[in-house]
Structure formats: C-alpha cells, structure tokens
Amino acid sequence: MSTSDDTQLVLSANEVHLLRQLSVQLLGLLEEGTDAVVERLFPRVIRSDAEEDRDARLLIHQDLMRERLARLGEVLGVLDVDPGQPVDLVDDQPLLLMGVLNDLRLSLAVQSGLHSPAADREELDDDGRQMAALMDWLAWWQERILRLVDPDALRFYDEESDLSA
C-alpha cells in the first residue's frame, strides 16, 4: 500500500481484499451486538455507578452505533474498486478510513487478547501472531494518513527520547 498524493491511495488487490474482509467481519460483529469487540468499542461511560452507566451508555452509544455502521459502509464503498485501481478519498473520507482502521485494530486486539495490558506478543499462538501482524500493518497505514492530515500529531516521535519512562 502506498500514497500517490494526498487523497489517492494505491492498494494492491490483496490489500483491498484484506481491508474489505476485515471491515465486513467487523460490520457483522457490530450488527450482532453482543461480542467482546462491541464491548470494547462501546465502553463504560460512568465507572462509579452501574445504573447511571447503563443510562448514559444507552444515550451515547445508540447514536455512536449508527455513526460506526455508516462509517464502515462508506469505507466499504470507497474500497469497491477494480483490482489495482487507486482508491480515491475525498472530503472527510481519509478521516473515516482512519477511524475504521482504528476500529479494526481494536477488534483484532480483543480477538487476539492484545487489548489486555498484561498481554505478551511472544506468547500468542499462530492466529494471534497473524492478528498482531495485521494490527501493525493497520497502524502503519493509520500513521501514513495522520502524516497527511495532521503531521504535528507525530512530532513527539522526533522530540521524545524516552517514552517508556
């Protein structure tokens, strides 16, 4: 995958296929609505009170579910190109794609167990390693888009010498 200019992406046929496959899978999970992935994408709103949290989540997450489904639908439409053809992104589509890429990373993290702070990549099974590699690929692409829409967001990489402190 590469960028040819600010709004045009060049993806291989395999990359388009993979992104579409992951997006369709996420769409299914969202429509089903009961998976741990859904729990991660629609987390708690109020930690201190379960009843207040339930009410707040109902209020906040109904709209958010509609937004996520619409975003996924638009990105799937954008990715509906002939093999080898560039993917043109217009208006807010780069941001929609970045949001979907992040949702896909979160989804893969839950499915592989990497969403847990205690998770260790070295202990993943083959499926988990495959998902971790996909997460890295999606992260790389997220930062390519970030570099286009807000290069300042990556500035700290050059200035922070010790991020693990």
């Binding site: 987390p43 906040i60 969403h115 997220q142 967001a153 700290f156």
Partner: protein, 101 residues
Amino acid sequence: MSSSAPTAAPVVDPDVTTGDETTTEGPWDVIVWDDPVNLMSYVVWVFRKIFGFTEPVARKLMLDVHRKGKALVASEPREQAELYVQQLHGHGLQATMERSR
C-alpha cells in the same frame, strides 16, 4: 497506549478549563484511560481534533495517559461532557465521566 506498558496514577491537568458555572449540577470531569492498543500519535490527533488543543497540550495529555494511566481532558456541564465522551468513544479511546470533586 501502544509501544510500552501502561502505568496508573491519578492526574489533574492545570491546563484544562472548568465548565459552565450556571449549571445547577456542577461540572463533570472527562477522563481518558490508558490502553495498550491506540497509537500515541493517533491519541494526540484525537485530542487536537475534538478539543482543539495545541500540539504541546495534546502531547502532554497523551503522555499523562500513557505514563500515569489516565488524564483529565475536560471539565464541563453534563451535556457537553457526554458529547465529549461520545466523540472519544467514537475514536476508540476509553473515556469516562464523573462528577467533579
């Protein structure tokens, strides 16, 4: 956040403005919690996009989340706090709200 292990400690950011004084309920704090998946650069961008923070402020808050486990990113009347949490959840961040103390 992605790229190193999270830590945990409370944090109060002096840069964050307080909410509307006319509300009877008082302001609610919006808190973003660390997670091992979201990219640091992405979190900086989300803070800049949603709150309009300058890059240094967004970076400081992102690093607070990363190093201390959480950061207070806004203190606002309930309706605005809910909107912020909705936007943060929409971007995949783990955000909660609680009554300001």
